[in-house]
């Protein structure tokens, strides 16, 4: 008789939600996804409060503007209704309901409509420009990452040689000059003083008149128009990769497993790639994700300078025209794309480093 309750409730199988959730929380992939969701939520909330609650908020400004432009023909209620539909916020509802419905429409990727081109949804505006920014930023970043890592590895292996000094110094110089200043200087010297490059022909994301598609002439044209932004992202990011890779390699070289590998008589080439290179590159993967956010932000100025039709340029146009739904939409969608990039980096990182992939891996 006494054995029955024990058999009915075996200790090990008992489902303890707290323990289970705790284990999930410790799992790095679950953590990464949770972090990504939280980040997007926080950004949307900040945006909502900026748009809705600040004194002289865009919504109030729009209502005033509507009343004034109609010389009083529109009543306050009507103006508020128009603003409501433009922002996709029900202004007559209590604040917490406004916030909830704002979040609800966000989940459905409905971020309101543009003030200026009426009827166009913000989502479609952004989707038209986002690929160009992702393409130019992605290409520039990837190129700088690959070349930078190769140069950093080279510099670390030739430590304190002339080559190392040249590479490291050049790396720290190009990484500390702001990218928009490099862009202006390129125009100044190559375009205006020496007249080597015709920058006006490179404006836009592709030449007008060309039909977008996957044929050689169009692909070539895309690269021609993106050449300057890509060059800038490449030049201004490469220094960071050189310096980080150099110092990561130097500290990896001091590790015991390298000495052990040497003692086991492995070839230098194998030690360099499989032992030192692989371990030194790992932390840089996370850094890669962080710099995606940095460059996407910096792209606003670069795109403005080269008149490249990406998200940044569209954002600045919206800022100038006070097209708040578009501003809000771009802030949200760039954050989401950056967060997704970070998430991808986290997943790749846990694949590359088997220690991280297991639950309860190194924290922080």
């Amino acid at each position: 008789m006494t054995a029955v309750p024990v058999a009915a409730k075996p200790i090990g199988v008992h489902w303890n939600p707290r323990r289970y959730l705790g284990g999930m929380w410790r799992h790095p992939i679950a953590r990464a996804i949770l972090k990504a969701t939280l980040t997007i939520w926080v950004t949307t909330t900040i945006t909502f409060f900026l748009i809705r609650l600040m004194p002289g908020s865009p919504v109030e400004l729009k209502i005033d503007e509507l009343i004034q432009s109609s010389n009083g023909a529109i009543s306050y209620e009507d103006a508020r209704a128009i603003a409501s539909s433009l922002f996709a916020i029900d202004l007559s509802a209590p604040l917490h309901e406004q916030y909830l419905s704002f979040m609800w429409s966000l989940i459905h990727l409905d971020i309101g409509k543009s003030f200026l081109s009426s009827g166009t949804s913000v989502t479609s505006i952004i989707l038209a420009v986002l690929p160009w920014t992702l393409f130019s930023v992605g290409t520039g970043l990837l190129l700088s990452f690959i070349v930078g890592i190769a140069l950093g590895l080279l510099a670390a292996y030739r430590r304190n040689s002339l080559l190392d000094r040249v590479i490291s110094t050049a790396g720290s110089v190009v990484s500390s000059v702001p990218n928009y200043l490099v862009a202006i200087m390129l125009i100044l010297f190559l375009g205006v003083q020496a007249r080597i490059i015709n920058f006006t022909a490179m404006r836009g994301a592709y030449s007008p008149g060309l039909q977008p598609g996957l044929y050689p002439a169009f692909v070539g044209d895309i690269f021609f128009h993106a050449a300057m932004p890509i060059t800038i992202y490449f030049l201004t990011q490469i220094g960071q990769w050189i310096l980080s890779m150099r110092s990561a390699t130097l500290s990896a070289l001091e590790e015991d497993y390298v000495t052990a590998a040497r003692a086991r008589g492995l070839t230098d080439g194998r030690i360099r790639t499989a032992y030192v290179g692989r371990n030194a590159v790992l932390p840089l993967v996370t850094q890669l994700a962080i710099s995606v956010g940095f460059i996407v932000g910096g792209a606003a100025i670069i795109e403005q300078i080269f008149a490249y039709q990406g998200v940044g340029l569209r954002l600045l146009d919206a800022v100038r025209q006070r097209d708040y739904p578009v501003i809000q939409g771009i802030v949200l969608l760039t954050t989401i794309s950056v967060v997704v990039a970070n998430l991808a980096a986290d997943l790749v990182y846990s694949k590359l480093d088997p220690r991280i992939g297991r639950a309860g891996g190194a924290a922080g």
Binding site: L50, P178, V192, V319
Partner: protein, 301 residues
């Protein structure tokens, strides 16, 4: 404090008198020519921005006959689109930019140190919360958010701008401070202070943070460069109401007036670019020399 002797001595602790420390520091710095140049660069630009305006008379009268002059004896860097002397604007244009950078760096360092070290020492839920907030701020594309904030709030004062910048850029430093404190708090001298029940404030600010001095200084400098980058960026985009004149505003006007495409105005547009770039370069190379000096593991060879 006997416990300090037990800890791995940093440069500042090994030397008693502040003068001796300064001499030792300069001696180490003089072995790193790039860092030395950076140090003198910083001193030069601080003097240029804060002391030189006292001695150089301010010239603000537009002169329509002197537009876009090439460099000459009267105007060593030429003139701008209104015929104003460019060198004079460079002398007067550094103060605001550097002040904003310094205030932003001070505030963000303060936020990072306070919350980073307290989170690390207390641990538990507070730590989890601080780490979560930090991770989130770290991923948000800052310049995009800054552009949106600047467009909506329209910062009119430079102090306000500095506060916004500081609120956007404390996260990376906080993460590193926390990691450092986490390893430092296991040291014997911190353990000793804890067993003496000296209190959280004492442990954080008197025991742990002093050993991180050099580290904090380096990050203060780096966060100045970050603040300069963002600040000049949004000035260049015309998102800050234009008042007075600084290097960023010079560049904004030079671009807006089409001076970029006018061949004779090379020095007009190049001067603010060089000023900003050289400040950034000086700060970066000085910071990397400091890292070299204070990190004994890298020193050696």
């Amino acid at each position: 404090m006997t416990s300090a002797i037990l800890a791995a001595p940093t440069l500042g602790q090994r030397l008693s008198g502040p003068w001796f420390a300064t001499v030792e520091f300069l001696r180490l710095l003089s072995r790193r020519p790039v860092g030395l140049v950076g140090f003198f660069g910083i001193v030069f630009f601080l003097l240029l921005a804060f002391v030189a305006p006292i001695f150089v008379p301010f010239q603000n009268d537009p002169s329509l006959v002197d537009i876009y002059l090439t460099p000459s004896l009267a105007h060593p860097l030429g003139t701008d689109f209104q015929g104003k002397d460019v060198l004079n604007q460079i002398v007067y244009g550094g103060r605001d930019i550097l002040t904003v950078a310094i205030i932003a760096a001070l505030l963000s360092t303060l936020i990072a140190i306070t919350f980073g070290s307290i989170a690390a020492v207390i641990g538990g839920r507070l730590d989890t919360a601080v780490v979560a907030v930090t991770d989130i701020t770290l991923t948000i594309p800052k310049l995009i958010l800054l552009i949106a904030i600047a467009a909506i709030l329209r910062p009119t004062s430079f102090v306000f701008l500095a506060v916004i910048l500081a609120l956007l850029q404390w996260s990376s430093l906080l993460r590193q401070v926390r990691a450092q404190v986490l390893s430092l708090k296991e040291r014997d001298y911190v353990e000793a202070a804890r067993s003496l029940d000296l209190g959280l404030f004492h442990i954080v600010f008197r025991e742990i943070l002093p050993t991180m001095r050099s580290y904090i200084v380096i990050h203060f400098i780096l966060s100045m460069t970050e603040a300069m980058y963002a600040q000049v960026g949004i000035i260049l985009l015309g998102l800050v109401p234009i008042s007075g004149s600084n290097w960023g505003i010079m560049l904004y006007f030079a671009q807006g007036q089409g001076a970029l495409f006018y061949r004779d105005s090379l020095w007009y547009i190049l001067s603010p670019i060089l000023a900003i770039s050289l400040v950034q370069l000086s700060l970066a190379s000085f910071a990397s020399a400091l890292e070299d000096i204070f990190n004994p593991r890298l020193r050696g060879s």
